[in-house]
Subunit: 241 residues, 2 copies
Amino acid sequence: MTRTRGIARPQTSPSADDVARLAVSTVIFSLRRRPGDELPTLVLPLVPRTRDPFAGLWALPGGWLDGQESLDAAASRTLAETTALTPSYLEQLYAFGAVDRSPTRVVSIVYWALLRADEVDASAADAPENVEWFAAASLPRLAFDHNDIVDYALWRLRNKVGYSRIAHGLLPDRFTLADLREVNEAILGRRLDPANFRRQVENSGTLIPTDDFRTGSHRPARLYTYNRDVELADRGPLDMH
Amino acid sequence: MTRTRGIARPQTSPSADDVARLAVSTVIFSLRRRPGDELPTLVLPLVPRTRDPFAGLWALPGGWLDGQESLDAAASRTLAETTALTPSYLEQLYAFGAVDRSPTRVVSIVYWALLRADEVDASAADAPENVEWFAAASLPRLAFDHNDIVDYALWRLRNKVGYSRIAHGLLPDRFTLADLREVNEAILGRRLDPANFRRQVENSGTLIPTDDFRTGSHRPARLYTYNRDVELADRGPLDMH
C-alpha cells in the first residue's frame, strides 16, 4: 500500500473513492389519455431533487447501489422506494458514465419498463406525493444527464416497436388491432395506415385471434391475445441467472 | 459524517469502498480460417490472470475504470493495453453486476466489437505475448462470470445478424455474396441456403453491387460494397455525445 494525501491506495486496483460511485435509475413509460385527446400520450414518472446537485430539478427515480444486491434488484428497490411502482420485469437499458454528468463521479446503470395505465393506477395510492408524471416529448430541464437518458430510451423504444412485441407491455390481455395500432402510434408519434398495419401484424405471427368481439358505438372489432410462444422480452442467456 | 471502523462515511450516500468497484471488459470477435477448414471459426482474444482471484485462468481483456475517463474511453484504453487491439468503434453490450461474480464486489461494463482478420494481424506485432485467441464455441473455464458474458455476447451477435448490418464488421470493403453468407454461417454455426440468402440480402437494401467481379478457380462472382446510407451501428442519440 502507498499513501497519497492521507488516502490508503492499493497499488493493483484503484481506490473506489477516487473513481466512481454506482447508481441505478429507471425510465418507466406508460400511456395516458386525457378526455378529448386524439391519441394517448407517452408519459413517465419523475421525482424532484431535494438536495444538491440539481436541487429543485426533476430527476428519474433511482438511488445508490447497495453492496448486497444485484443491479436488477437495486433498480427494482429504488423504483419502489421512490414511486411505489413494481413492474414485473425491468430491462437494463444502458450504463451512462460521462465524466462530467455529475459534480462527483457517478456511473448510472439505467433500467426501463413499460406499464399499463391500470398497473400505474393500482400503485397510485402508495406513491409518494412528490411523484409526478410528465409527457415524454415535452420534459422540463432535468437533473444530471437525465434528458439525454430519456431521449435514448425513447429512441430505443421507437426502434424496438419495429421488430419486437414491446408495445404489448402497454396493452391488456385482450385487445383489438385498433388498440395495438394506437399504442404504436403513440410511441412513434405519428398515425399509421390501418390496412398496412393490419397486414404487418397478421404476418408477424405474434398475435392469436380470439372468437370474441368488442361491440359498442362502432362495428364489432375482433379481440386478439398474445402468442405466448413468442417471448415479450427475450434476454437469451441472461434469463438463466 | 460518521466514522465506522476508521472509514469516513458520508451519511447520504454510500462509501464506495463497501459497495462496488467499476471495471470494463471487452469481447472482440473475429473470424479465423485454418487450412482445410470448411467454415471460418469465430474467435476471441483472452489474457491469463496473473493474480488472484482466478490466477491462472483465462479472462476477457479489461481493467479498472479511471476517474477521469468515460466508460467508452476506459474500454478502449484497457483493450489496447492488454491486447494492442484498437477497433475504431466499441459498442456497449451490458453491465454485469451479480453480487457473487467476484470475491470483492465488482460491476463490469462490457463492450464488444467485431474485427476483420487483417485488422487483428495489423496489431499482432504489438500484442503482449500472453494474448491468445480461442474459438468462441469451445472456451475453457474462464475467470469470474466471463463464460456467461461470452455466451450473452454470442447470443446478441446471432440475434443481430438477423436485422442489422453487423456481419459487415467482419468483411473487407468489397466482397462477394458468398463471402457475406460465409460470415453469417460462421456466426450462426450452420449452413444457409445460397438462393434464399441471396434473395434476402438483395431485398434488404444494405448492399450496392459494383461493376467488378472476382475471378479465379470458380465462375466470376460479383463484388458488392456497403450502402453507406445505412449505419453499421446506429446508436441514435448516443452518437451526439
